[in-house]
C-alpha cells in the first residue's frame, strides 16, 4: 500500500491530473488534502501540484507557502517525509524555504506550454531513482515563471552536492542555451534538498505518463517513489 497525499490549494489545477497519474501507476488511492487543514495524514510521500495557488497574484507560490497546511508539510518534510513539488509546487517549495532559489518570469516573458527534453543528472533522488543518470527524457512544461535563479554560491553548492536533478537539454543531452526554454540558471529544471527526499521540478511528469497522452517518459518520477517504498518495506 502506497499512501500519497496531494495538497490542494485554492487555484491548484493539476491536482487531479497528478492524483490520477499516481493512482494509475501505484494502484493505490491518493488522498487530497485541503490547504486549510491543520495536518497531512500519514503519507509515504506528499505532492504539491501545479496551478495558480491563490491566483499567484503575489509572487508565485508565496501565499501558498504560508497557508495552514504548509506548516505541517514543512514539519513532515524536515522529519523525512519525501515531498515532490511540480511547477507551482516547486515555486511553493522555494517560497517555503524547503529548496533554495526562486522561479522568475521566463526570459521570453511569455507562458510556454510544450514538450522539452530533460537530462537526468541525479538518479539517486527519491523521485528520479527509476531513471538512469544521463538519460534524456521528454516531458512538457507549462509555466510563465520557471526561470530558476539562485546566487552563484548556491548554484555551485547544488552542483557540487549533485542536487541538480534535471536540466533542460537538447535531444542528445546537451544542456545548451538553445535548449533552455525559460532562461533558468545552468539550465536547471529540477533540484533536490541535501537528502534527495525533497524534489522540485518545473516540468509536468504527470502529463506524459501513458501512450494515449503522447508518451510515457514522465512515468518514472512516480515509479521512483513506488520503487523506493517497496525497497523500504522489503
Amino acid at each position: 500500500m502506497i499512501r500519497a497525499s496531494v495538497i490542494v490549494f485554492p487555484g491548484s489545477n493539476c491536482d487531479r491530473d497528478i492524483k490520477v497519474a499516481i493512482e494509475r501507476i501505484s494502484g493505490f488511492p491518493v488522498k487530497m488534502v485541503w490547504h486549510g487543514d491543520a495536518s497531512v495524514p500519514a503519507s509515504d510521500f506528499i505532492v504539491l501540484p501545479g496551478g495558480f495557488s491563490y491566483g499567484d497574484y503575489l509572487r508565485c507560490g508565496a501565499m501558498a507557502a504560508h497557508s495552514p497546511i504548509m506548516r505541517d508539510v514543512i514539519a513532515k518534510a524536515k522529519a523525512g517525509t519525501p515531498v515532490l513539488g511540480v511547477c507551482n509546487g516547486f515555486q511553493v517549495l522555494c517560497e517555503a524555504g524547503l529548496l533554495p532559489g526562486v522561479l522568475m518570469r521566463n526570459r521570453s516573458l511569455k507562458f510556454i506550454c510544450r514538450d522539452v527534453h530533460l537530462r537526468v543528472d541525479n538518479d539517486q533522488s527519491y523521485f528520479t531513482r527509476a531513471y538512469r543518470k544521463g538519460q534524456v527524457i521528454r516531458v512538457p512544461i507549462a509555466h510563465a515563471e520557471g526561470n530558476y535563479f539562485a546566487d552563484d554560491e548556491t548554484l555551485d553548492r547544488l552542483e557540487g552536492e549533485g542536487r541538480i536533478v534535471l536540466r533542460y537539454s537538447d535531444e542528445d543531452g546537451d544542456a545548451s542555451n538553445a535548449a533552455n526554454p525559460n532562461g533558468s540558471q545552468r539550465n536547471i529544471a529540477g533540484i533536490s534538498d541535501a537528502t534527495g527526499r525533497i524534489v522540485g521540478m518545473m516540468p509536468h511528469p504527470e502529463r506524459l505518463y501513458e501512450n494515449a497522452l503522447g508518451g510515457t517518459d514522465g512515468r518514472r518520477v512516480f515509479e521512483s517513489a513506488v520503487v523506493n517504498f517497496a525497497e523500504a518495506m522489503g
Partner: protein
C-alpha cells in the same frame, strides 16, 4: 402594486431626450417603451430597458433569421435558448458548448477584453452543470502592417492565456487570420466545451414561489456598465474613450467559482442557476423569472459591493465578472453557503421569487424599478431589416490564373506567409495539456480531449474562410460548416453539432444584412444536409469603424465524438514508405484561393463550391479508414490546397514526401493549389493503397495516389527539392519574427 416612478422620484433625474439617446434607443423605440409602461421610466428602468433592448442582448436584427436554422437531431439534448447547447455523448455523458464574441472590448483593451471573453463563455458552460474541459478561440486581426496589429495580437493572446491557463482548462484549438478588413475591428470569438452527466444538467428557469434568490462569486463594482450597449454600436475615432466599459477579469475567482458551483451541483440544493454575463443582474433576473413564469423581488442593499455608494442603476447594469445567480430549493441555504464560504466566495440572499410576475427592485428603502417580467424579457423590438444579396460572381477558370515560376517556391512562400505561417507562437502560450486528457494537441485539424476516465473523446474545432463568405455569403457559410465537419472527420470523430458566432458589420445597411441573411441560409443548408444542427450561438453586429465594415465572418465551432481515442488520426506523416492518396473531386478551383490572393494580387470569382452529398460520402469513408487503422495520417485540404496540406503533414510528422508529377487535365498549379472542397489527404501503407483507392471509387469519389512518404524533403519531379528544415524555418519563423521584432 407600488408605483416605481413615484417612490424613485427623489433620486431619479428627469428623463430627457438626450438621456434617452445616450442609452442607445433608436427610432421610435423610446415611444414604444412609454407605450408599454404606460408611464415614464425611472432612470434605473431606462437603464434596464436599454440593455435588454440592445442588439447584444435582444438579437433584434438577427432573431427572425436565426429561427430558420436547424436545431434538432437525435443527439441534441438542448438547442439554442439556454446558456449553451447540449449534445449526447452516450453512456450518460453529454457535451455542453457555445462560442461567443468579445470583439468590441478586445479592440479597446485587448488583454482584459479577451480574458473576460474566455471567462464569460466558461460561465455559460459551467452554469449548466458541466465542467469546462476544452477551450478554443477564433481570432481575426488586421493586416500585419497596421500599426495596432502587433499590440492587439500580443494583448489578446496574453489575455486568453492568462484566463484559460489559470482556470486550468486546456485551450486545444482555434484559428487566427490577418486581414486588413479587421484593421479597426478585430474579432475575438471564444468557445468552451464542457462535460456533464445527462441526468445532472442545470437550467435557468426559476421555478417556484418564495424561494431565495442567491448571489455568489465576486463583488459588484462599477465596471462594464453599458458593455452590452457598447457592443451594439459601431466604432468611431473616439472609441478609445469607451475603455472604462471594458470589464476586468479574475481567473482565480473563476476557478474557485467553477469548483464551488460544481460542488454544490453535486448536491440537491439548486433549483435553477444563471451566470451574470452581459447586462449582469438585469438580464439574469429577467431571464430566470421569465423562463420560470414567476416574479422576482430584489433588495439591492444585500448585493455584495466592491465600491461605496453604488446606485441601483449601477448595480443593475454592472458587468462585473465571475458572478452567478441561483435559485435554491427550500432549506438548502446553509448547505450552499458553507460551500461558497469554503471557497472564500461571496454568498448573499438578495431576493425572493414571487407570484407577482414583476421584477421589483428595492434600494435604500425605495422601489427603484417595478416592471412586468414578460414585458421586460420579451418586448424587445424584432426587426426584419431590409437586405440585399448580390449575385455570386462567376467562377474563374484555372487557366486564367498564371502559374508560378516554381511550384515548390510558391509553396515555400505561402507556408511562410501570414496566412499560413505556424500559429505555434500563439498556442504555446495556452496551456493545452492541463486536465491530463488532451489526446490531440493544437496544430492539426481538430483538438481532442478524452472524456475523463473513459476511452471516448470529444473533438472540437472552429473555422470560417471570410474571403469566401465575402464573395458569396451563402456558399461561404456553407463551406465554413462543412470544413468544420471535415476537420472532425479527419481526426476520426463523428460530427455532432455546431455553435455559430455571427460577426458582421452594421445590419442597418441592406448589403450587410444581406451578408447575414445569406450566411444563415448557407449554414442552414449545410447543417441540414450533414445532420449537424446548430445548438448555440452568438451574434456580434456593428463591427465597423467610420463606415468601414469587417468581412462577413460567421465563425463556426463544432463538436464531435470519438468512440475510441486509440483509433484516431492526426496530420503528421509517420511511416517511411507509406503512399499518399488524395480523396475527393479535383477541379483546380483558384477563384478566391490563397494562391490567387498571393500571386495574382487579387481575389476574384466565385469561392469553391461545396457538394454536400460528396462530403457525406467522403467523411464516412475517412472515418472508416481511421478506425480500421488503414490511415496513418489524415488532413483535409483547405487554405492553399493540396500541396499545402501535404507540406503541413510533412512538417507535423517530421518526414518528407516525394510527389509524383501531376498528369491530369488541369493546369498543374491549379491541381496543387486549387481549393476544391471535400478533399482529404491520407497516408496509407503501400500494400493497402490500391484497396483504399478502390473503396473511394465504389462511392463514386475520385481518388489518386500522388506520392510517397520518404526522406527529409518535399520533392517534385522537375523542381529543385525543398528541404523540410528550410520549409520549417519559413513556416515557423514568420509569427515569432513579426511579434518580437517591432522595428523591422
Amino acid at each position: 402594486m407600488t408605483n416605481a416612478s413615484a417612490t424613485d422620484a427623489n433620486t431619479s433625474p428627469a428623463i430627457t431626450p438626450e438621456l434617452v439617446a445616450e442609452h442607445g434607443f433608436k427610432g421610435d423605440e423610446y415611444e414604444k417603451l412609454l407605450e408599454i409602461l404606460g408611464r415614464e421610466p425611472t432612470l434605473t428602468e431606462l437603464g434596464i430597458f436599454s440593455v435588454m433592448w440592445s442588439e447584444h442582448c435582444s438579437y433584434k436584427s438577427s432573431r427572425y433569421w436565426l429561427k430558420t436554422l436547424p436545431t434538432e437531431s437525435p443527439l441534441v439534448i438542448q438547442g439554442p435558448g439556454e446558456n449553451a447547447g447540449i449534445v449526447d455523448l452516450g453512456d450518460g455523458d453529454c457535451a455542453v458548448f457555445k462560442m461567443e464574441s468579445h470583439n468590441h472590448p478586445s479592440y479597446i483593451e485587448p488583454f482584459q477584453g479577451a480574458a473576460t471573453g474566455v471567462g464569460g463563455i466558461m460561465r455559460d458552460v459551467f452554469t449548466m452543470g458541466a465542467r469546462p474541459v476544452a477551450n478554443l478561440n477564433a481570432l481575426r486581426f488586421g493586416s500585419p502592417g497596421h500599426k495596432k496589429t502587433r499590440h492587439l495580437v500580443n494583448g489578446v493572446v496574453a489575455g486568453i492565456a492568462h484566463y484559460g491557463n489559470c482556470t486550468g482548462v486546456p485551450t486545444i484549438g482555434g484559428e487566427t487570420n490577418f486581414d486588413e478588413g479587421y484593421d479597426n475591428n478585430i474579432l475575438v470569438n471564444a468557445m468552451c466545451v464542457g462535460l456533464a452527466r445527462t441526468d445532472n444538467v442545470f437550467y435557468s428557469a426559476a421555478k417556484g414561489v418564495g424561494l431565495p434568490v442567491v448571489y455568489v462569486g465576486s463583488k459588484t463594482g462599477r465596471d462594464g456598465i453599458h458593455g452590452a450597449t457598447m457592443a451594439s454600436a459601431e466604432f468611431d475615432d473616439k472609441s478609445d474613450e469607451k475603455r472604462p466599459t471594458v470589464q476586468v477579469g479574475d481567473p482565480f475567482t473563476e476557478k474557485l467559482l467553477i469548483e464551488a458551483c460544481l460542488e454544490l451541483m453535486a448536491t440537491d440544493a439548486i433549483s435553477s442557476i444563471q451566470d451574470m454575463g452581459a447586462a449582469g443582474l438585469t438580464s439574469s433576473t429577467a431571464e430566470m423569472a421569465d423562463k420560470g413564469g414567476v416574479g422576482i423581488t430584489l433588495d439591492l442593499d444585500h448585493v455584495p459591493q466592491r465600491e461605496e455608494n453604488m446606485t441601483a442603476y449601477e448595480m443593475m447594469l454592472s458587468e462585473s465578472q465571475e458572478r452567478m445567480l441561483m435559485i435554491l430549493k427550500p432549506g438548502h441555504e446553509a448547505e450552499a453557503e458553507a460551500i461558497f464560504k469554503k471557497w472564500e466566495l461571496d454568498f448573499a440572499v438578495i431576493g425572493i421569487t414571487t407570484d407577482t410576475g414583476r421584477l421589483i427592485v428595492n434600494h435604500n428603502g425605495a422601489v427603484v424599478a417595478d416592471l412586468p417580467v414578460p414585458v421586460l424579457a420579451n418586448s424587445a423590438p424584432m426587426y426584419q431589416r431590409p437586405w440585399e444579396l448580390k449575385e455570386p460572381p462567376k467562377p474563374v477558370l484555372p487557366q486564367w490564373v498564371s502559374p508560378p515560376n516554381s511550384t515548390l517556391g510558391a509553396l515555400k512562400e505561402m507556408m511562410g506567409s501570414p496566412h499560413l505561417a505556424s500559429r505555434r507562437w500563439i498556442y504555446q502560450q495556452y496551456d493545452h495539456m492541463v486536465m491530463g486528457d488532451t489526446v490531440i494537441r493544437p496544430g492539426g485539424d481538430a483538438g481532442v480531449v478524452r472524456v475523463h476516465g473513459t476511452n471516448k473523446g470529444i473533438a472540437a474545432c472552429c473555422d470560417v474562410t471570410p474571403r469566401y463568405v465575402f464573395a458569396d455569403p451563402v456558399m461561404g457559410a456553407k463551406q465554413a460548416v462543412t470544413e468544420c465537419w471535415r476537420n472532425l472527420c479527419a481526426v476520426g470523430a463523428d460530427p455532432i453539432a455546431i455553435t455559430d458566432n455571427m460577426n458582421f458589420a452594421n445590419p442597418e445597411r441592406p448589403e450587410i444584412m444581406g451578408q447575414f441573411v445569406g450566411a444563415v441560409k448557407g449554414i442552414g443548408e449545410a447543417c441540414t444536409a450533414l445532420d449537424f444542427p446548430v445548438v448555440s450561438g452568438n451574434v456580434s453586429l456593428y463591427n465597423e469603424t467610420n463606415g468601414v465594415s469587417i468581412p462577413p465572418t460567421p465563425a463556426i465551432g463544432a463538436v464531435g465524438r470519438v468512440p475510441d481515442v486509440s483509433k484516431m488520426a492526426d496530420i503528421g506523416l509517420r511511416n517511411e514508405g507509406d503512399l499518399i492518396i488524395v480523396i475527393g473531386r479535383e477541379q483546380g478551383w483558384l477563384g478566391q484561393s490563397l494562391f490567387q490572393q498571393m500571386f495574382a494580387g487579387k481575389l476574384e470569382g466565385a469561392p469553391p463550391p461545396v457538394d454536400l452529398s460528396d462530403e457525406l460520402k467522403a467523411g464516412k469513408l475517412i472515418r472508416a479508414l481511421i478506425r480500421e487503422g488503414r490511415a496513418s495520417a489524415v488532413h483535409d485540404c483547405s487554405d492553399g490546397g493540396l500541396l499545402v496540406a501535404i507540406a503541413e503533414m510533412a512538417l507535423a510528422g517530421g518526414i518528407g514526401a516525394e510527389l509524383f508529377p501531376y498528369e491530369g487535365k488541369l493546369p498543374s498549379h491549379a491541381a496543387w493549389f486549387g481549393e476544391d472542397q471535400g478533399r482529404y489527404v491520407v497516408a496509407v501503407s503501400p500494400h493497402k493503397a490500391e484497396e483504399v483507392v478502390e473503396r473511394a471509387r465504389l462511392l463514386a469519389l475520385p481518388a489518386r495516389i500522388i506520392g510517397k512518404v520518404t526522406g527529409d524533403r518535399i520533392a517534385l519531379k522537375g523542381e529543385t527539392f525543398l528541404p523540410l528544415d528550410e520549409l520549417r524555418k519559413e513556416h515557423e519563423g514568420w509569427l515569432p519574427d513579426y511579434m518580437e521584432n517591432p522595428l523591422e
